[in-house]
Amino acid sequence: MDAIEVLLVDDEPDYAETMAFWLKAKGYRVTTAADGHEALAKLSERLPRIVFLDIMMPGMDGIETLRRIRRSHGALPVIMVTAYASDERMGEAEQLGAVGFFQKAADFSVAARLIDRALHDLKQRKAAS
């Protein structure tokens, strides 16, 4: 089975690297981007199966990046990464079609389950349409 490609967008290198390493250790192929602009650039080069997008970033924040991803890449599944369990921007992100929320404090294994569910839902939607 081909490794699932994940794009990890986070301005915190410590956290991004740890999560990247974990995803790699679990057999995912991981590319990282440190901000929204870099993320959009990476997306235009190569399309991952799923994106982890930090909701709070300096400059272009997660919501704005998500809005632009929607414009350029339609239904690409995006999981928002949040620092807190609730964030007032979560509703906005949901309206913009975010497929899940991953809390930074959570166990990485939760990230793996979110990926599985997102990809499973996508397959079903595709089959339905």
């Binding site: 690297e17 390493f21 974990w22 790699k24 250790a25 057999g27 166990d107 294994s109």
Partner: protein
């Protein structure tokens, strides 16, 4: 020296040897590259995880560790960024899905340009250590439980012991009282008899006296007639009256009557004195615990106790008093009387077995003898009670002062007499000595210092009065 060192260096450079070394390690050695892919695993790793090295190399390291190892991934990431060695706990998953607790010691491998290329991890299976720790913990908990249990048990035992001690103290106090009461109870019958006898003969004497008085009145009437005739100078009549009077006096045995009259009066007086004495003794004896020490005349104590116990003793033994002149001592007279009484009663009981079998020449059973002596020895008043009774068996000698030790049938002895006497003598700073020969007799000797330390009420444990056995 040098050549040896060179040889050693050569050996170390030998790659085959190095590979062999690594493969022979007991710990798992694993190399993971920057992309978290396993690049090498030694034989220990293959054995532990159940995968051949070929299945593991090229796989992400996540295949052999459980998802819960956040700190492991953090440690590797830190290793990769800082290059500093890291240590953490880890949980491995084997091919069969078994989870194995382990420790991870990581360091980095650097490539050209000093770039960190990979992490070298030494992983140690800690199941055995964990098991030992658990065992130790269990043992510790078990030990703690045992200690707690023992502590509780000890505390409970202590409480029980204290309760028992309190109960014993109350019981002892009650028993002492009961003993005194029962001694009195036993003696009550005897005392009643003691009183009845003098009352009986005083009553009989009174009847005799009444008859004597009647006779005397008749004689007096005759004398009256004689006197009248003489006054009238009627000698004829006087002669007749004198004749009648002499005849009457002869008939009544007037001389003997007059003698007996005095005797009966003295005897009655004696009887009344005896009753008065007994009542006084009883009063003295039954008076409740004296609060204060007073001066005690032991001889007086012997007399009053003998009066009380006379009935108990008189059919069993002849009591010989040898009371010497002794000074008064300071103490508790009623309690000392109780000691004397206990010794006397014990002596009397010592004849119970013997007297019935030993027969003297004339066929009448021989009464035993009890000597009760007092004398002064140095600075102490000595009271001796000696009997010619059954004696004390040598094996009983050590026990006779123990509370409840008795060789007497139920109802006859409680085994308290000597232990109580002991306590009383100790209270008077005295000692009790015993000398006894089976079949010959026993002598109890109570030694009471004349200058008994005042108010020596406080019991000093270990300060036992002397017990001496012959």
């Amino acid at each position: 020296m040098n050549s040896e060192r060179d040889l050693y260096r050569g050996l170390l450079r030998d790659e085959a040897l190095m590979a062999n070394l690594i493969q022979s390690l007991i710990d798992v050695l694993v190399v993971v590259d920057r992309d978290a892919v396993v690049q090498f695993i030694n034989r220990a790793g293959e054995d532990l995880l159940g995968h051949p090295s070929s299945e593991l190399v090229g796989q992400p390291v996540g295949a052999i560790v459980t998802d819960e190892n956040l700190q492991f991934f953090r440690a590797i990431r830190e290793l990769m960024t800082t290059g500093e060695s890291r240590h953490c706990d880890l949980e491995l998953v084997t091919r069969s899905g078994e989870k194995i607790p382990a420790t991870f010691n990581g360091s980095v491998l650097r490539g050209p340009g000093n770039r960190i290329e990979a992490v070298v991890g030494v992983i140690r299976d800690v199941r055995e250590i964990r098991r030992l720790v658990r065992e130790l913990e269990d043992a510790k908990v078990g030990l703690e439980n045992t200690v707690q249990k023992r502590t509780r048990e000890l505390a409970a035992a202590k409480t029980r012991a204290e309760q028992a001690y309190e109960e014993l103290k109350t019981a002892q106090a009650q028993l002492i009282h009961a003993e005194k009461m029962s001694s009195l109870g036993q003696l009550a019958a005897g005392v009643a008899h003691e009183i009845n006898t003098p009352i009986g003969f005083v009553g009989a004497n009174l009847r005799t006296l009444r008859e004597y008085v009647w006779d005397l009145l008749q004689l007096a009437a005759g004398y009256e007639g004689l006197l009248g005739a003489v006054e009238r100078s009627d000698f004829e009549a006087a002669r007749g009256e004198a004749e009648r009077g002499r005849a009457l006096a002869q008939r009544l045995n007037a001389r003997a009557l007059l003698e007996d009259l005095a005797h009966v009066a003295t005897e009655s007086e004696g009887g009344l004195n005896r009753v008065r004495r007994i009542v006084q003794d009883l009063k003295a004896f039954s008076r409740s615990e004296e609060q204060e020490q007073t001066s005690v005349d032991i001889n007086e104590g012997v007399e009053s106790t003998l009066a009380i116990a006379r009935n108990e003793l008189k059919y069993k033994a002849e009591v010989i008093k040898e009371l010497g002149p002794v000074p008064a001592i300071l103490g508790y007279p009623q309690q000392l009387n109780q000691v004397i009484l206990n010794l006397l009663v014990n002596a009397a009981h010592a004849f119970d077995e013997r007297t019935k079998t030993s027969v003297e020449g004339d066929g009448s059973p021989s009464k035993g003898t009890i000597w009760i002596r007092t004398f002064l020895r140095g600075e102490a008043v000595v009271l001796e009670v000696e009997d010619t009774g059954c004696g004390i068996a040598p094996e009983h000698m050590a026990k006779i002062f123990d509370p409840f030790f008795t060789t007497k049938p139920v109802g006859k002895g409680t085994g308290l007499g000597l232990s109580i006497s002991y306590g009383i003598v100790r209270k008077h700073s005295g000692t009790i000595e015993v000398e006894s020969h089976v079949g010959q007799g026993t002598r109890f000797r109570v030694v009471l210092p004349v200058q008994a330390p005042a108010a020596d009420e406080t019991e000093k444990p270990g300060e036992e009065p002397e017990r001496r056995a012959a």
